[in-house]
Every structure is written in C-alpha cells, then in structure tokens.
C-alpha cells in the first residue's frame, strides 16, 4: 500500500512527446483509473511508475521517496498486462511462485505455499494450479496474472488494460472481482483503460489523459457531471454527451435562432452573444408533448428499460435517453426539452467549462 506522486513528468521518445508536464497524485488504498485513447500516454505513465522507462523530466515519488534511480525490482510494484504476462513453459503454480522466488524477496517455502494457496483461492484458480499456462482460457490467464501480482503483496498494483482482451461477459465479471479484490486487499491500484465503463464502474478517482496531458482528475461523479472541458465530457457517458454550438441570448441558449432555443434557468453568465458549446447528457433531454423544441425521430434503439432516440431538430442531430414505455416511431415528430440545471456551458473556442474557468 502506498501513495504515489508524479511531479512534472515529461517523457519523450525521440521526437515524439508521450507525456507533458504530468502531475498526478494517487492516494493510499485508492482505485485510480487513467482513462484515455490509444496513444494518450496511459501505458507510458504506468511503465514510468514501474521503472521500465525513465522520465525525460520530472520526479516520481512512492510514499514520499523519490524513486528516480530505482530499478523495477526495487520499486515493489506489480504489473498486470493485457497479454503476454504469463511465463510460457511454466505451470500456473510456477507462475505464481516466480515473483516469490526472486532473490530480493527471500520468501520461505512454507510462506510461499501459503501465499500461492491464498491467491489461488481468492481468484478461484485452485483447480488450475498444475496446468501449463498455454492450456488456459483468456479469463483464466488474466486471473493467474492478477494472482501473480497478489502473491507479492506489492505496494502498488499497476494494471494495463488487463480486461480488454477478454469477451464482454467475462470482462464484466472480472470488473466486479477486481473492484472487490481491491477493497479486500485495501491496496493502491492504478488501472489504465480506454473503456469508460471500466473507469466509471471501478474507479475511486479517474484521471483523463489527452495526448500526453492530464486534463482532469476527480471522482467518477465529478468527471461525469462536471467535466473540465468538452474532451472530458465526451470521454465518459454512453451514449455520449450532446454538444450544441450556439450563443447566449437573453439568458437563453440559442442553437438555431427561432427554431432551437432553450432556457438556462439563470445558469447564464452575463456575456450576451458569447459563442458557447452547450453540453447536455442524453438522459437530461426529455421528450414530452408541449416541450419547447420540435424534432423528428431519426432512429430508435431499444435497450430494454430505456430507449435511445436519435433526434433531429433544425438540422442538429442529438440523442435522448427516454423510458422504454414511451411510444415513438422513426420519422415521427416529437417535442423535446432539456433539464436546464444539467446543462454544462463550455467556452465556444477553448472548449473549457465555464464552471471551471470561472
């Protein structure tokens, strides 16, 4: 268990900069998820903390100690990767024992048997212990590789998209297991993913990375409801947030003058005519008779308890999540409105949330 701090980390690979001036704090016992697209620098961050890469600039602290000169072995972190993480030729048991056999750890044979047994029990892989790793399914392999991290009792668990190679059902199951595991162990987890559902469902805190910059850190709630800019707003939520370009006029949001105007209930700032991007999540768009805006139904996706409508109002396409009981047909004309309290205002040119920018 440990506290991790990255201070002003920049990492360059030749001419490309993978991370720029990254500052990051991960609290003791926290489940921290780094969310970002491919190439955003998630894996690089992980490898820097593990000691597999050296930062071009900046410092890394584990429990307040600068570990810049430490090798991976000394940092006492565990790494779980998406694939290739199990040693071939070894059985599951040998894989689990491998980190304990390292000279720097000197674990007694009895202790080793204990720890392997305990990890196997937690992950329900006891029946696989004597199997060769080539003969495991994807989910079993990932369990074993998490087990190899657990037996060590490391200070930090680093996980690099450990679930993304698995099929949807298994991914869901392991997600819950991982979260439970983290709570049982009370360990610090840094989990890297491009999957917003993983981030939202597991994280105590999420850090959103965009092309090497950390845009925002916060609880899933903060990230979802109070994104710092349009990038963060778009990176969580399914279906994604609706972003309308428009202007502020008389305390109203004007997206298409005359045909697409909605109230803001005092959220407006006194910048008359300022270009604004209005963000509203599909669940905050309502479809009801007599609402302010007329729209045609472009598409209906039935998801069981709810329907996702794709609507077209004044040539602007957006989405609304409505109860499945609502009867709508494609091409039907409906009336819709938004919950003015939930509308997020972003600056029209910078994309920064006005709440954050002040």
């Amino acid at each position: 268990m440990a506290h991790i701090e990255l201070r002003g980390i920049t990492k360059k690979f030749g001419a490309t900069t993978a991370l720029r001036k990254l500052d990051l704090q991960i609290g003791d016992g926290e489940f921290f998820v780094l969310l970002g697209q491919t190439g955003a620098g998630k894996t690089t961050t992980l490898r820097l903390i593990a000691g597999l890469e050296k930062p071009t600039e900046g410092q890394i602290f584990i429990d307040g100690v600068d570990v810049g000169t430490w090798g991976p072995a000394e940092r006492d972190v565990a790494l779980v990767l998406q694939q290739y993480s199990l040693y071939p030729r070894y059985t599951v048991r040998e894989n689990l024992e491998f980190p304990l056999k390292a000279k720097i750890r000197r674990v007694e044979p009895d202790e080793m048997r204990d720890r392997v047994a305990r990890a196997a029990k937690i992950l329900r892989i006891e029946h696989l212990l004597d199997r060769k790793t080539e003969r495991l399914s994807g989910g079993e392999m990932q369990r074993v590789s998490i087990g190899r991290a657990i037996v060590r009792k490391p200070r930090v668990f680093l996980m690099d998209e450990p679930l993304s190679a698995l099929d949807a059902k298994l991914r869901e199951a392991l997600r819950t297991e991982l979260k439970n595991l983290q709570m049982t162990l009370g360990a610090t987890f840094l989990f890297v993913t491009h999957d917003q559902i993983e981030a939202m469902s597991m994280a105590d805190k999420i850090g959103v990375l965009d092309r090497g910059r950390l845009v925002q850190t916060g609880t899933p709630n903060e990230i979802y409801n109070n994104p710092r800019n349009t990038f963060v707003a778009r990176s969580v939520g399914s279906p994604p947030i609706n972003l309308f370009e428009g202007r502020l006029q008389g305390g109203r949001a004007v997206i298409k003058p005359g045909t697409f105007e909605l109230p803001l209930n005092g959220q407006a700032v006194p910048d008359e005519g300022r270009p604004i991007i209005f963000g509203v999540r599909p669940e905050d768009v309502s479809v009801e008779p007599g609402a302010a805006v007329e729209a045609t139904v472009h598409d209906v996706e039935n998801h069981g308890v709810e329907k996702i409508l794709t609507l077209n109002a004044a040539q602007t396409i957006f989405r609304a999540t409505v109860p499945a009981t609502l009867k709508v047909e494609v091409d039907e004309t409906v009336r819709c409105a938004w919950n003015p309290q939930k509308v997020i205002l972003f600056d029209g040119s910078s994309g920064l949330s006005l709440r954050h920018a002040g």
Binding site: G71, P72, R148
Partner: protein, 318 residues
C-alpha cells in the same frame, strides 16, 4: 472444407512425393558413395562401373588409424600366424603396421579428429553465446546507429574469405598463432559471429519483451530475467544457430590447410593427405571422411526438433 481429394490432387501429390524422393536420392548419392567405399576392399574402390555388391570389410578403418609401410618381402608364416586379426588384414594388403618396440604406431587421424572437435565445439560455443548476447542487446536496447552496426557486422561476410587468406596468414605468423587451436577458434568464431548475431536477433525479436519486463517488475535483475525467461524461449534459435555454426567450423578447409600443419591441424586438410604408402588409398580416405561426417549427423539429429522450427522460422508463428 471437404476432405475428399480429386484424382487430380492425388496425382499432383504423388508427383510431388516422387520429385522429393528423386532430389533426396541425388543428395544422398555422394554420401552413399563415401559410405560404401569406406567398407570396400581396396581393389574394388576404383572399379568402373562402381561395384555395388561386395563383402564389406573393416580394413579401411584399420588402415585409417595405423601407420603402415610397404612390405619389401613376403611376411614369414609364423609372424603372420602370431599377428592379431586386424594386423593380418594389413599384411594381406602387402603392407605392415609400424611398431616402436611393441606398441603400434597410430596414424595422425585420431589427433586431427580431436583437433576438429576442439576447434569446432569451442568456436561454436563462443559464436553462439556472443551472438546471442549481442543480438539481445540490439533487440532490446536503443543502440545509437543500430542499423549501421548490424550492417557492419553482416558486411564481414560480404567478401569471399579466401580474399583475406594471405593477410591472415601473415598476421598469424607474426603473432605466432599458426598451428594453434586458439588461432583457428578465433578465426571460426569471428567468421560465424555475424551469422549468429543476425540469426539470433531474428529469434529474440520474436520473444515478446513483456515477459522480461514482467520478470523485472517481479524482482529479478536484467541478467536473471535473461537467463530465466529469454534463454529458454530462445532454445530453438540457439539450436539452429549452433548447428549452422558447427557445420561451418567443422567443414572449413582452406584456412585450416593454410594455418595449421601438425599440432592443431583439423581433419579436413588431413584426410586428403592420407595417401598411405604407394598409390592413393581411396578406401582409407573414404573411411576417414565417413567418420568425419558422423558428428555433424549426430549433432543435427539430436537437435532435429528445434531445427525444423528454426528452418521454417518466420513462416510459422508460435
């Protein structure tokens, strides 16, 4: 896909198999020739057309291992009777085995064979181990000018070795390394190294570096990770590289002929010089060649499983 073969496919298969058999026979013919000559009576060795059916005998091997001289007069009856069976074979051929006191004088062959083993085995071990480490370095670390270095290493193979024969000879003579094991070992190691580096780099590139990184994070040093994770994964590549290096070193003729003459001479330059007394004794030469083929055959046979994977390297992925 249906497993039913059309008659056309069957015919194509048969033709392919027939072609393989023909090519194999062509390749095996010289080996059969050497093997059969090694067991022929001397008189049948050079008959035209070659004798295919004959009573195999061991005499060529006895000749190979002994020093002999031509008999000037027929051997006495009681000497012949008292001689062991193998010595009588020599008397039968009109020669006698040289003795100093009571002990039989051995020919140079066993020593040359031993030299060949020492030189080939040592240089193979060196070339493969140095090549593996170098390849690992190139594969896993950022080496400034990596492509240039690799090209430079390969370029040592770009001119025929015989071009450097004379400078080599002069250099070896100047430093006193002619006719030494170490001289040939260095030469063969240098010659095989470029090959070994390139081949091993290909194999090591194929091993995901995630394995080692996992080991590093798990508390092992780079060296331990190399020995515990990389090396076992690279066995196939190492075996294939070792066989190629061994064959090159084992069969090398020109430099061995030029740089050695007695103490460190290997078998290849020795065998043809093994003319015996009087006319060239092809049966003894064939016997020497036959024995000389065995280590490569055994070595290759032992590593055959790895070799198959090694040869098809690149075509088949794990």
């Amino acid at each position: 896909m249906a497993a039913v073969q059309t008659s056309r496919q069957r015919l194509a298969n048969r033709l392919a198999i027939a072609a393989v058999i023909v090519v194999t026979l062509i390749f095996l013919a010289p080996i059969y020739w050497i093997g059969s000559t090694a067991f022929k009576p001397r008189a049948l060795a050079t008959t035209v057309p070659p004798t295919v059916l004959f009573q195999p005998e061991i005499t060529p091997f006895i000749k190979l291992f002994t020093k002999r001289v031509q008999l000037t007069r027929p051997v006495e009856e009681e000497v012949y009777e008292a001689a062991p069976w193998w010595e009588r074979r020599i008397y039968d051929g009109g020669e006698r085995v040289l003795r100093v006191g009571d002990s039989v004088q051995l020919s140079g062959y066993p020593d040359r064979f031993k030299n060949s083993l020492i030189v080939a085995v040592t240089s193979t071990l060196l070339a493969v181990s140095m090549g593996t480490l170098t390849a690992y370095g190139f594969s896993r670390f950022r080496v400034p000018g990596e492509q240039d270095w690799l090209f430079f290493i390969l370029s040592t193979r770009m001119l025929p070795p015989v071009v450097v024969a004379i400078p080599m000879f002069l250099m070896y003579r100047a430093v006193g390394m002619t006719d030494t094991h170490i001289g040939l070992i260095i030469l063969y190691t240098a010659f095989n190294l470029s090959f070994s580096v390139w081949l091993m780099k290909g194999f090591i590139d194929e091993i995901p570096k995630e394995y080692e990184e996992a080991a590093l994070v798990d508390g092992y040093t780079r060296m331990q990770a190399f020995f515990k994770i990389v090396l076992p994964e690279a066995t196939t590549g190492i075996a294939a590289t070792a066989v190629f290096c061994f064959i090159t070193a084992w069969n090398e003729y020109a430099f061995a002929l030029m740089l050695t003459n007695r103490d460190a001479q290997t078998a290849p330059p020795f065998i043809p010089a093994q003319v015996g007394s009087g006319l060239t004794d092809w049966t003894a030469i064939a016997a020497g060649t036959f024995l000389f083929l065995l280590p490569v055959a055994i070595f290759t046979f032992l590593l055959r499983n790895h070799l198959l994977r090694g040869m098809s390297f690149g075509a088949i992925r794990k």
